[in-house]
Structures are given as C-alpha cells and as structure tokens.
Amino acid sequence: MPETPPRPLDLSFTQRFRFHGGLHLEVCQEVAAAHPIRPAGIPPQLVLPLAQHIGEPARCLVAVGDPVRRGQCLAEAAGMVSAPVHAPTSGTVVAIEPRPVPHPSGLPSTCIVIDTDGRDTALPAAPATDYTQSDPAELLEQVRAAGIVGLGGAGFPTALKLEHRQPIELLLINGAECEPCIACDDGLMRERPHEVIEGVRMLRHIVQAAACVIAVEDNMPEAEQALRQALVELHEHDIQVVNVPAVYPTGGERQLIKVLTDREVPSQGFPADIGIIVQNVGTAAAAFAAVSRAQPLTSRIVTVAGDGVREACNLEVRIGTPVRHLIAAAGGYGSRIERLLIGGPMMGFTVDSDSVPVIKTTNCILAVTAQSMPAPPPAQPCIRCGKCTEVCPANLLPQQLYWFARAASHDAAQDFGLFDCIECGCCAHVCPSHIPLVQYYRHAKTAIWTQEKQKRASDIARARHEARLARLERIKRERAEQLARKKRALADKEAGDNARKSAIQAALERVQKKKEQAGTRPRNIDNLTAEQRRQIEEVDRRRVNRSSPQDPE
C-alpha cells in the first residue's frame, strides 16, 4: 500500500501522462471493424470448458443426456473466486469430459459438450430489472449469477472486482484496445454505444464512483464519435469520453490509469487500493444485458483477422463455438496458415488445432501465413544493447531478468521485479538477437510458483511425518506404561497373597501355642455315652491323619 496519498484527480482529464517505454505498432490496418458485426451462427456442437475465468473451475450441475435451454445454468461457481457457466443455446448434453481448450499448454480440460438442436429455445424470460431502482448489492448478485467475467482478456469475475470496501473516486472504462488487429471493442462501441453507456451507468451505480470516464484510443475516431453521440442521446452529462495516445500497451489496466491520472497502482496491490476501478467496455455492456434483460453471459464479439482468412470481420459468437466454425464464417482459410493465434499478435498464444472452442475471454482469432509472421530466426547471444530497457512499460531491466531467468536465479529475478512484468512483449519485439524474452519470464514465474507449491507440500509432508513419529512414540510410551502398571499390579497381588498366607500361618501358630500353654484336656469328656465316645474316637483318628503336612488348599 502506498504511504503517501495518491495525487488528486484532475476531473477535466485534459492532461495525458506518459508511462516509460511502449511501442508504436502499425500493423493489421485492414480493420475488421470496418464491417458491421455479424452473427457467427450456431454450430452443431458447443464445447464449454468449466474453467473460463480466473479462479476455481465451475462445478458441473448437469449430467450427460440432460436437455438444456439457452440461459440455463450448467455449472455453478465453486467458491468466491469463480463464475458460473450458462448454456449458450438449446440442445442436449452429450459428454462431460476433457477436451482441447484454448491454452498455451495444449492440455485438455473438463468441458460440457452440447449437441445443439438449432431451435435456440430459451428459458422463460425472467423479469427485467431497472437498475436505477435496485440496491447495488442486488445488482452485484445478478452480475455474479450471470457469470460475467472481465471480457478484456483476463477473465476476472466481475462481481468480485466490483465489490470493494475502499471509496472509489473513479470508474475507468477501458475502450483502449491497444493490441493491433483486435477490433471487437471498436466494433461494440461503434454499433452498440447505448448498451455501453447504459452499462457504464449501471456499473457506476454499483460502485458509487465519484467520477466516470470512458477511454478510447485516438486511432478509433468512429468509436469515439458514436459514444459521444450516444451520451447526447441519453442525456448523460456525467460521463466523459476521453482519448488516449495509441501507444502499445496503453490498454493495460495499470498503464491506462497512469496515462489518465498519473497514479501508479502499487506493485502488489490493485487499482481499488488507489480509488480506481477499471472495467472493459464489453464487460459493461454484458453486465447491463445481464441485469436489464436477465441475460447471462452466453455470447461475445470476437474479431477474426489475419492474412490467412478471406474476410477479416467482427462476429457475434456463442461461447463454446469451435474456432473452425468462426473461420468458416469469415470466409474460410485463404492460404496456408503458419499460426493460429488466440488473442492479439503481441500477447496471444498459438493453438495447434482449430477445434478449440471460443471461451468468455477469447477476444480475437488470428490466422496468419508465414509471409506476415515468419518463423523467428534462431536466437543469438544477448549483446546488452538495452533496447528492451528502453521500451519496458513497467520500467524493469528485461535484460537482467533474462540473465536471472536463464540461470534460474529466482531470488535475484524477484528482486529485480519479475512479478511486475505484465508480459506485454515489447522487450522481445525490439530485441535484435531475437531472444524469446517473454517465454523466459513466464518460465521463471511458473518455476517460482511450482517451487513454492513444492515447499508447501514438503512442509505438510514433514508435519505429517513428525505427527506420525509422535503418534508411534506415544503408542510405544503408552504400551510401556501399561506394561509397568501390570507388572506393579502383579507384584502387588503377590505381595498381598504372601501377606495373607503369613497372617494365616501366624494365627495357626498362635492357636497352637495357646493350646500347648493351656495343656488342658477338653472339659466335656466325662460321662460320655457310648455313641459320643465312638464319635470322639473317630474324630481323633481323623485329626491324626490330617496333621501330616498337606497343602490346606
């Protein structure tokens, strides 16, 4: 947390501040947004991963064979940092199994697979809500239940982001689509500005922000114009549309905040810590649809571009549509494709098959040929030229991070700010030795996380082992004590027996002695009858027999 209070906001937003570095990128000028957004149509099969957001994967609620309708909740959020998944159209669940998903690893993940029936039957319409009459907490619940996540690419559950305890000075809506080729936000702002503005208003109502601006890059004049027009038509005077220089990566949350407010989000903190919340324009529109039309997140705008498709365009796509269906909707492959990218050319990742589905965070598909993106030449040694340092928007020393990552010096890498790297790719783009710098940083970050996980696991294993040793010790001790107790008990018993025996013996001896001392005859043997005399003689005979040593027992 910063110790000094943040700079006061200049609400006129006339000044633009600069962040260190950045690049002017001028590619992909055949802007997809030049054409109106078209629907991509419903494919025969939809594949819905349970993990389309940051946090825990959703928990599946349906079973194989269940019929589903559009808008039905198929998987519920698993915990706080999670989001539900809804059916984008009607059909039947045919499988819940691992399928290839859009992820750089190429590993599969559990997905709900739906065969669509083409009828697109929806759930019965829920009552629409007028957000101006609703309590912000209720609205948050609706946004949460609709599965809205950050559509700018990160996929953080929106409701969680909007929940905050700090007072919010500024709601900043991010329409600064800085990565080249991506045009989905551009298209949204041009064609549905009212949705965007209403969504922004609603978000502001939820977070109770003092000020609100929508940031648009200065190379998107049509979008800016459309938004301004919509503001006039909706009689909205309290939201501003501002433009920001088209420098990559101005669209990054932290960089955008710096450009407009000169405030820096603290390294391990969030924008809310400095009184600002940033939301993507697409998220705002989706949140509005969720509340006003009770429409969960089931479709989004995706740009299909690259010199490998016939027509670059913006498509309205149902979540779960396979990428090959989108390519077909964009006119199909025009030439041999070298790479299929999910995302933009700077931060996107390649996938090895076009059967992967579109998920909530997919903003762009690029099919490119080897002409426009040739295979990178082999990396040469780093010559310490410092170009990477010139362009890093986080003001890091990428060169040093490269040396440390390569040598697995994790502590040094963290000391030099490895986790402040936003992986924008500016450094690798300017490197004259063609070193894949971002991959080194990603490797180092994941290696550090793996190590921390292993450390936690080994701490638990040590604790379990020590607990087990303690348990065995305790059992041994208890057994030893028990044995000792038994032995004592046995010894006591013997002692007790002996004591009894000697007491009996002593009594007998006493009696014997007394008798000898008294020396008397029995007094009642005069005047005996014959019978009595016979009994006495019998008893005397018996006594003589018994006086021979025998064990009384």
Binding site: A51, S105, L107, P378, S458, R462, H465
Partner: protein, 181 residues
C-alpha cells in the same frame, strides 16, 4: 626481546578478549543448521539417502557425517541449495543412492487389496487410509512418492503412477535457445 614478547602477548590477549566479547555480544540467533538443512530437503522420507528419513539425513549433514549429494528426489536443485547454504561446492547426484525421477504417486488396486495394513504401517507420512480387513486407499495429495509401501505388500497391489499435469500446475518450458556461447 622480552619486551617484544610481552608486547605481542598482551596484544594477543587484548584482541582475543575483544573477539570473545564480540562473539557473545553480537551473536546472531539463527536456526540451527539442522533445521536449515531439513528445510531444503524434499520430505519424501524415502530413505534412499541411507538414513531413516529426511531429518536424520539433515542431522548427518550438519554433523558432517553425510555428503550433500545423496538425495535423488531432491535432485540437482536440492544439491545446489544445500551447497549454497553450507558454502561448499555442488557436486553431481551420487548414483549409488538412485537417480532423480519425476514425482510419482502410488495407487492401490482395490480388486487385489486384502486389508492387511502392512502398507499403512510402512507409510512415513500416514498417507494410506484403512483398517484391518477394510479397504486401503492412498490419499493422493499426501503421497510423497517414497515407494516404501510397495515391498511390504504381500499381494503386490500397489502401483506407481506418474503425476498428471493439469492446466493449474503446467509451467512454461525454458526456450530451446540455440546457444552461441
């Protein structure tokens, strides 16, 4: 001659006293070496190092009775960390103690298990759940892969399986750079 001896002798005594005082006065409390070494070991408790667990091995290292390259599950990383901690040179893993392998866990084949509890008694971290004449099962998240349960099992129903990488714990590989160095 005598004065020189005297002077040096007194000097040595004075400096010795200062050093002794400093050693006590400025002593830094740190974890005993054994704890520090133990913190670096992977806690597999497998015994491949020749000692009855990670703690005895740590004690042996601290006492100088064992070398730092005897832990196969720790591999090179552990050897390097131990070398850094103790200020000695890192050396390759001693092949007498085994080779470094990727982490594995074990699984009990429930069709074959007879409920004899021999594996439960062998597991150093109590990762097997079960009771006499009841089904035994391995708690996968706690299994360290030490494989000590496999020899005692009379019906050989315990099998080693590799740990599956999921999306959550996948890590980026190091780039295959054509190194010109």
């Amino acid at each position: 001659m005598l004065s020189a001896l005297l002077a040096l002798g007194i000097l040595a005594m004075v400096i010795g006293l200062i050093l002794g005082y400093a050693a006590i006065r400025f002593h830094v409390d740190s974890d005993p070496v054994v704890d520090q070494v133990d913190a670096l070991l992977p806690q597999t408790q497998c015994g491949q190092c020749g000692f009855a667990g990670c703690r005895p091995y740590a004690e042996a290292i601290a006492a100088g009775a064992a070398d730092i390259n005897q832990c196969p599950p720790g591999g090179e990383v552990t050897i390097q960390n131990l070398a850094n901690l103790l200020g000695v040179d890192a050396k390759p893993l001693n092949p007498e103690h085994g080779a470094h392998q990727e982490k594995t866990v074990v699984v009990i084949d429930e069709q074959t298990c007879i409920g004899c509890t021999l594996c439960i008694q062998a597991c150093p971290v109590d990762a097997i759940l079960g009771a006499p004449k009841h089904m035994h099962t391995v708690i996968q998240s706690e299994c360290t892969g030490c494989n000590l349960c496999i020899p005692p099992c009379p019906v050989e129903c315990i099998h080693i399986v590799p740990v599956q990488t999921t999306l959550r714990d996948w890590s980026w590989p190091l780039p295959a750079e054509a190194d010109h160095a």
